[in-house]
């Protein structure tokens, strides 16, 4: 049934696109790229840019965003804070499966509304098992909490040994010193090898031009985080790099109504996350794969 609906949708988008393509061909081929588009095409890898280049790229992006969305943005390029290594804790005995984290993440990180992209997936599981293959991804959050069931939210696990980074053929995704795995959306060629390699299904691809209502856009951006993406690139959770590198909590931590989400610097023994690891019996998903997630689950009760 699901495939039929999708098939019909795709036929519709195909026909629409076919119309657009034929029209643009009839009008004399592709539209002429602007100077800023050409600059984007020849720009360097983010990690190899000089401060001057970064400045120029920021100005170009802000110009393009202004043109496209008709509003101003703040675009940061903050580097990792020295002596900070981020980690995450999730208290499964508190999680009620309300999906508020999912929607807060969508808004904070300017994820496409159509097609719908969500970085967090909440799995509904019967008590007594942790077999993810028996999980329900499409449960009704309005009926939660449900007797006999519990929920596991899953997002990028920010692995210490990330398979996605290893397989990327262009180094467009890498791990920064604070442990966050980021993507340079202007460097990704869209081969989607990282999506095949991720054991946590944490990566999403922009199959179409992302659509976000302009008044719902978060204007506080980071180059490696929530800046608007283009079609044809991969994106993922960055622990809200635009917030956390300025000392704030990720949006999902802030919004969680039951305080199930913990976040902090594991190099600081007094941080909340260090206390969680010290005092709780934490576990990580799929430890047998040796990905070493910096995302710790635990049951406080």
């Amino acid at each position: 049934m699901g495939t039929d609906i999708k098939g019909a949708m795709n036929r519709r988008t195909f026909l629409k696109a076919a119309g657009v393509a034929s029209t643009s061909l009839a009008l004399g081929g592709c539209q002429i790229p602007s100077g800023d588009d050409l600059k984007a095409l020849v720009q360097s890898h983010f990690a190899e840019m000089s401060p001057d280049e970064i400045k120029a790229v920021r100005q170009r992006l802000l110009r393009q965003y202004k043109k496209k969305y008709g509003r101003d943005f703040v675009l940061g390029t903050e580097q990792p804070i020295p002596d900070v290594l981020f980690a995450y804790g999730l208290d499964l005995s508190r999680c009620i499966g309300c999906r508020r984290c999912v929607y807060a993440c969508v808004e904070e990180n300017n994820q496409s509304r159509r097609p719908q992209i969500q970085w967090i997936r909440v799995l509904l599981l019967k008590k007594g098992t942790m077999n993810l293959e028996e999980s329900d991804h499409y449960y009704d959050a309005g009926l939660m909490p449900r007797e006999g069931y519990y929920t596991i939210p899953v997002q990028c696990q920010q692995c210490e040994n990330p398979p996605c980074v290893k397989v990327c053929p262009t180094r467009a995704t890498w791990q920064d010193d604070d442990g966050i795995v980021v993507v340079d959306y202007d460097w990704c060629i869209g081969c989607r090898y990282c999506m095949a390699a991720c054991p946590y299904w944490a990566r999403r691809f922009n199959y179409a031009e992302p659509e976000i209502p302009i008044d719902e856009m978060n204007p506080n951006l980071h180059y490696l985080g929530n800046r608007p993406r283009m079609r044809g690139v991969v994106e993922k959770c960055t622990f809200c790099v635009q917030r956390t590198r300025k000392g704030r909590y990720p949006a999902c931590v802030e919004v969680c109504p039951v305080g199930a989400r913990k976040f902090g610097n594991i190099l600081d023994p007094e941080s909340e996350i260090s206390k969680v690891i010290e005092n709780q019996r934490v576990f990580r998903l799929k430890e047998e794969l040796n990905t070493q997630p910096r995302f710790y689950y635990f049951f406080s009760i």
Partner: protein
């Protein structure tokens, strides 16, 4: 300079002239290439959303075809070994034919990878110095390197041999033989690395199996030679180039052995997964029987199993192997069987269920099917046109200015297997 102009004149004449069936074939290919280009235009302007691919199944027909064609490219050159051992005819000529098939398959591979990219205009990021190739960590980096190296070797050998024959010169063995010898392990290498692309991924238990490399090689040794048997028959029908019957039967024998091994490997994999019966068995169950009512691939894989098995039996019995109707039927069945096994039957189930246990099926959409057909037609077009030049050079019909047209080049006439009688065909017109 005069030689070059003369050559270009000959090439133009040969490419433009041919019997009616040649024009029909080329027009047919051009129509589908045109459709493919149009469909790619649609995909390029609106994104990969026009394909059936999703976040759940993020690779589809494109990568499936790519995987299949790497096998064809590898096997085409590996035919040199039996061609040498069993004396199929002039080894040099057979080598050139195999290499042209390999080059055509490689071109298709590159097109398939390119159309799969979200940002093909950023492909230069893969290059050293101006880009940032993730070498040696990324197997995709290795694959690009080894496939391009393979393309280079094959282009170098075939260009060198054809040029010397064309100019009526004696080829210098130590100049090209090392490359021919290198191309054989390299052919194994391209398919091995392509298998590594998949089997190095712990996230996908269906791919994460050591038997993948031998399985890939075994199935490549089925589809590549089966395709070659058909191509050789067409070549000898339409040109003066001759391949002995016995050679075709020997290739069929080889396909039979390879298919036996392929079926054995598949069986080993199926047993291990089913008997272990861990979580990891889900993609295999999904593939062969369907999972929780999702059965999209079941009919495909059983078709492949049936085709491969029937092909195996047809090539096993001498009577059916030596009958051209059953031989060709077997070839077609095996090519289709392996194509399904490596595409729909291998790439897709790797994604189902997802690492988080979701079952989301993949259905190819019209644009991607058109793009696939277009790329196949482009490959066939390249193969046809390349043969249209290469074969007359090999048979001595096309020579450089001042070189006698029938001059043999070192081979005894009977050993070279070239018929003296004029036949109407693509190359002789």
């Amino acid at each position: 300079m005069q030689i070059v102009l003369h050559f270009l004149g000959q090439v133009t004449q040969r490419l433009l002239k041919g019997p009616r069936i040649y024009y029909a074939w080329v027009s047919f290919l051009l129509v589908f290439i045109g459709l493919g280009i149009w469909a790619y235009g649609v995909q390029y302007t609106s994104g990969l959303a026009v394909t059936g691919m999703t976040d759940q199944v993020s690779w589809g027909l494109y990568i499936g075809n790519f995987t299949f064609l790497v096998g064809v490219a590898a096997a085409a050159v590996l035919l040199i070994i039996p061609a040498y051992i069993y004396d199929f005819g002039p080894i040099k000529e057979i080598t050139i034919l195999g290499e042209i098939l390999a080059i055509s398959a490689l071109l298709m591979c590159m097109l398939f990878v390119t159309v799969d990219l979200g940002h093909p205009q950023r492909m230069w990021h893969l290059l050293p110095i101006i880009g940032t190739p993730n070498f040696p960590d990324s197997l995709l980096g290795w694959d690009i390197l080894i496939l391009n190296g393979y393309l280079f070797i094959n282009v170098a050998i075939s260009t060198y041999l054809l040029t010397t024959i064309y100019l009526g010169k004696k080829e210098v063995k130590w100049l090209y033989m090392p490359l021919v010898l290198l191309s054989i392990p390299w052919a194994l290498g391209i398919h091995t690395v392509t298998a590594y692309l998949y089997n190095g991924i712990s996230a996908r238990p269906f791919w994460n199996t050591a038997i993948l490399v031998p399985r890939f090689l075994a199935s490549a040794f089925c589809s590549g030679p089966a395709l070659s048997i058909i191509c050789f028959q067409l070549i000898r029908k339409f040109t003066r180039f001759q391949v002995k019957d016995e050679a075709l039967f020997k290739i069929a024998e080889m396909v039979c052995i390879a298919m036996g091994i392929n079926i054995l490997f598949l069986g080993a994999e199926v047993f291990k997964e089913l008997y272990t019966d861990s979580w990891h068995v889900a993609p295999l169950i999904y593939l062969f029987t369907g999972l929780h009512g999702h059965v999209a691939l079941v009919k495909w894989i059983w078709t492949a199993v049936a085709f491969n098995f029937i092909g195996f039996l047809l090539f096993l019995f001498p009577t059916t192997k030596r009958n051209y109707v059953t031989l060709n039927l077997g070839c077609v069945l095996i090519v289709i069987g392996v194509w399904i096994e490596k595409g729909m039957g291998f790439v897709i189930p790797g994604f189902i269920p997802t690492p988080l246990g979701e079952i989301f099926e993949y259905t190819p959409q019209t644009p991607e099917v058109l793009i696939c057909i277009g790329i196949w037609c482009a490959g066939f077009l390249f193969y046809t046109l390349a043969l249209k030049i290469a074969i007359p050079i090999e048979t001595g019909e096309m020579r450089a200015l001042g070189v006698p047209p029938t001059a043999a080049h070192g081979d005894e006439p009977q050993k070279s297997g070239i018929k003296t009688g004029i036949k109407d065909g693509w190359a002789s017109t």
